[in-house]
Amino acid sequence: MDGAYRSGPAGRFLAWSTALYLVLPILIVLPVALTDQRFLSLPYERISLQHFRTVLTSPEWLGSIWQSFTIALASTALSVVAGTLCAIGCWRISRRATEMVRVLMLLPLIIPSIVYAIGLYRYFGALDLLDRFLGVVIAHGVTGIPYVVITVSTALAAFDPRLEQAARGMGASLSQTLRWVILPRIAPGIFSGAIFAFIHSWDELVMVLFIASRDVFTLPRRIWDGINENLDPAMAAVAVLLILFTLLLLMADLALRRRSQGR
């Protein structure tokens, strides 16, 4: 049926302009990061890597990158364990009985993070978790659960429940069934969820603005301060590094999906 119906010139023009509007502004940070000037501009005479050098030798930027990385790893572990078990439980117990649980798990996607952030500010104050590694890990881990629940549920939808029943019928315990039958089949879904939970934590700013101040100073927090205080090309260099890192993660996700579909 291809070719029987095509979009008109107006529709095509709008689609192309929208695609350019989505992609071009993001690409602009690359030439700005390579500028030979000391302010935000395109390169005047030659391209220069000095701003990348500034970022990669600055203890502040490196410290924030490391902190964001460890926080994202720890909170991803939390989201993956809780989210995967929950998705498996909901899948096995039946949709109707666990409807409330599913809605509860999706709340962090629906409720704006500013509402959660001010709530945490008070709540963590009483628990002495403000400006602590553990506090940020909990906040990011809990709000990362929905991503894992969604990807794992999608993977489980393609899983034949009779396999699980057969394993149980042949005498496997619940933990054996989980480990040997269910988890290997849904591993790609878990991995996708982990990547999304990782990116969620790695990019998260609103909660961090409220529950962290000095000791915990993540990368998004440092970028935020940079945008509000001194707009210099080092910021563009950071932006380029971040874009590359995100693309790398997405490509890993894509490659993994390809492999699991090819099987």
């Binding site: 979009s7 695609a19 709340l107 619940l174």
Partner: protein, 281 residues
């Protein structure tokens, strides 16, 4: 079903870690926000009275609604064009289109806001280029106002608008379009009378999604608004961090949640909300 088919108590235990985490560290802090809004500075509905008496509160709400409605309308239009192009594209081209939508979706919102500042500010690339070409004599005010906020927000929201509309358009049988053409309808007529009505569920789902995301959006409006145009989320942050007016801040946060839940409740009668939140919903 035999006994093996009935889930035992063990399966319920699997839900426990997530449930405990979400109840203790998500639901409880948010419940506290709702409580503070009726207990501080004194018990009662005094904070909510401000909705009717304070011009500042009303101005923030009106600004937010105006920006959100404009953002949703533009994001739907642009998103529709992209989703339409993807639906009708060849499988090869389709991959590139989807990439153009998904890559921005996952790139840090801060990076994108920074890119827009670089482009739009007074000495930014857009103004400088236009000045050098002699198109304008004075730099245009492109950022740190409502225009800048909307440019940045639409940029963030278009991918979210595309996905539900794309899902809905893919369910349209292409033979219907070919049949309509064969029966003598012009291309415009096929679009208006066949394609557009069939894609409406996706459009509504996308509209709801973009609107509720826009309502509570913090980062992009805060950066591109430059503190001059305040939307609800930034205003709440200001009340709590700078002015320490917990009652007022939590009241507005409660209203934000209520507005979002109301929007969802109203539209869940029209469209299947699972469509919005994917397979996990």
């Amino acid at each position: 079903m035999s006994g093996a088919g009935r889930p035992g108590a063990g399966w319920w235990l699997l839900l426990l870690p997530a449930l405990v985490l979400v109840v203790v560290f998500y639901v409880a802090p948010i419940a506290q926000v709702l409580t503070i809004s009726v207990t501080e500075p004194e018990p009662g509905l005094g904070n909510y009275e401000r909705l009717f008496t304070s011009p500042a509160v009303q101005r923030v709400i009106l600004t937010t609604l105006r920006i959100c409605i404009i953002t949703t309308a533009i994001a739907l239009l642009l998103g529709y064009a992209i989703a339409y192009a993807i639906t009708l594209a060849s499988p090869r081209a389709r991959g590139w289109w989807i990439l153009a939508v998904l890559v921005p979706l996952w790139i840090s919102v801060l990076v994108r806001a920074f890119a827009w500042v670089t482009l739009l500010r007074r000495q930014g690339l857009v103004n400088n280029t236009l000045l050098e070409l002699g198109v304008i004599a004075e730099p245009l005010p492109l950022v740190w106002n409502e225009f800048g906020i909307i440019v940045g927000m639409v940029h963030y929201m278009v991918p979210f608008a595309v996905l539900p509309m794309l899902a809905s358009m893919r369910e349209i049988d292409p033979r219907l379009l070919a049949a309509a053409r064969g029966l003598g309808a012009s291309r415009g007529e096929v679009f208006r009378r066949v394609f557009l009505p069939l894609s409406m569920p996706g459009v509504i789902a996308a509209g709801v999604l973009v609107f509720i995301f826009s309502l509570g959006f913090y980062i992009t409006p805060a950066i591109l608004g430059g503190g001059k145009t305040l939307m609800v989320a930034e205003w709440i942050g200001l009340q709590i961090l700078d002015l320490v007016r917990w009652g007022l801040g939590t009241m507005m946060a409660t209203m934000l949640v209520v507005a979002i839940l109301l929007t969802l409740a109203v539209f869940s009668r029209i469209v299947d909300l699972r469509r919005i939140f994917g397979a996990g919903g």
